[in-house]
Structures are given as structure tokens and as C-alpha cells.
């Protein structure tokens, strides 16, 4: 699960049935040099590309979320769904102290 800051949302008009009722968040992913410490996410955008993440936890703009990528992202769905990034947690606080 990677962490990232929600920087936008996507609204789909025509989708496959499995996506109905889904919310989509655009996330700026944290990297080693651009990571949250404490309660506030770092300002500015990350240099990594921003994925669109499926969300049913209610992540809002500016929230820090933990999103899972890969096949595991489609596990919570009842029928097979082509989702490869899902919001698994909304972070309250992050304690991060990397060794140099």
C-alpha cells in the first residue's frame, strides 16, 4: 500500500456496470524525498505520475490516503472488476523518519 495526497476527482459518464456508484480520486503519490510527516501532507506535487484510485471510503480533496495497487485492488468487489488501484485507508497521522 502506498501513501499519497488526493489532488482531484474524476467523474465518469459511461462505465461498465461494476463501476456504478464508484468514486475516483486523483492521487499525488509520496516518494522517499516527498513524504508526509505528522498530520499535514507535503505541499506541492510528487514527481511520480498521479494514479486514479477507486474509492468507497469517502476520501476528500487534500486527504492523505493509502492505496493498494495490483490485483489485490479488485478483491473487495463481488464480481470480477478491472480496478488496479483502490483506496484502502484514509491516514490520520504519519510518523516517518528515514535513515539517510
Amino acid at each position: 500500500m502506498k501513501l499519497g495526497r488526493v489532488i482531484g476527482r474524476v467523474t465518469l459518464s459511461k462505465t461498465i456496470p461494476a463501476f456504478t456508484g464508484g468514486r475516483w480520486l486523483i492521487v499525488s503519490p509520496f516518494t522517499r524525498g516527498h513524504y508526509q510527516q505528522g498530520r499535514q501532507p507535503p505541499s506541492g506535487l510528487s514527481k511520480d505520475p498521479s494514479p486514479v484510485v477507486f474509492d468507497n471510503l469517502g476520501g476528500g480533496m487534500g486527504d492523505t490516503i493509502g492505496y493498494v495497487e495490483g490485483r489485490e485492488a479488485s478483491m473487495p468487489f463481488d464480481q470480477p472488476t478491472p480496478v488496479d488501484a483502490i483506496n484502502a485507508a484514509i491516514m490520520d497521522e504519519v510518523f516517518y523518519s528515514p535513515l539517510p
Binding site: M1, E72, M75
Partner: protein, 98 residues
């Protein structure tokens, strides 16, 4: 599975129910020389690894789903072991005196 170093923890109250009660450790994957590579991954930790401790993290979602006992959990990364010593064999293996 990656060799990784624990570099932090994350606290989340609103999350997928299968993650309730699990420690979320921020683990930085390390390469063979012990240098960081890639983005830090948040893994669930059943072993109580400490800060800056070396661990092994696994991306096998099937094993993680069994650990959290929820076949529909999106959890993927998990700390599977705490490393005592990690070193690369540099010298050629000594010939046994046979």
C-alpha cells in the same frame, strides 16, 4: 519479497475493515547494497518490528488475505520476517579440505 527497513508508522481510523487492529509500518525496500530503491510501502506487521529494523516484506496478497482472515481484503504487503543479519556473499566459498 523485498529486504526493507522500517522507517515509520501510519495511523488510519477510517480504512477497510480487514485492516482493523493491524499495525501499518512504512517500509523502504532496499537493494543488494542496502540502498533504498522505489517508493516506501506500507505493510501490515504481525511481528512487531521496531523503527529502523530490517525486515522482509512480501507482496503476496493471498498470504496477506489469509493473515487478515478476509478473502475480500485489498491488503497486499505484509512484514513476513524480521532480519537479524543480512549480508551478500562476496568472497568465493572456501573449498572444504576433502
Amino acid at each position: 519479497m523485498y529486504l526493507a527497513r522500517v522507517e515509520g508508522t501510519a495511523i488510519a481510523t477510517k480504512k477497510h475493515p480487514s485492516l482493523n487492529g493491524w499495525r501499518l509500518l512504512i517500509c523502504q525496500p532496499l537493494d543488494a547494497e542496502g540502498k533504498a530503491f522505489g517508493a516506501p510501502q506500507v505493510a501490515i506487521d504481525p511481528h512487531g518490528a521496531g523503527l529502523h529494523q530490517m525486515v522482509i516484506i512480501s507482496s503476496d496478497g493471498a498470504a496477506t488475505r489469509q493473515a487478515v482472515r478476509d478473502p475480500k481484503s485489498p491488503a497486499r504487503w505484509m512484514v513476513t520476517a524480521i532480519v537479524d543479519k543480512a549480508g551478500r556473499a562476496t568472497a568465493a566459498p572456501k573449498k572444504s579440505a576433502s
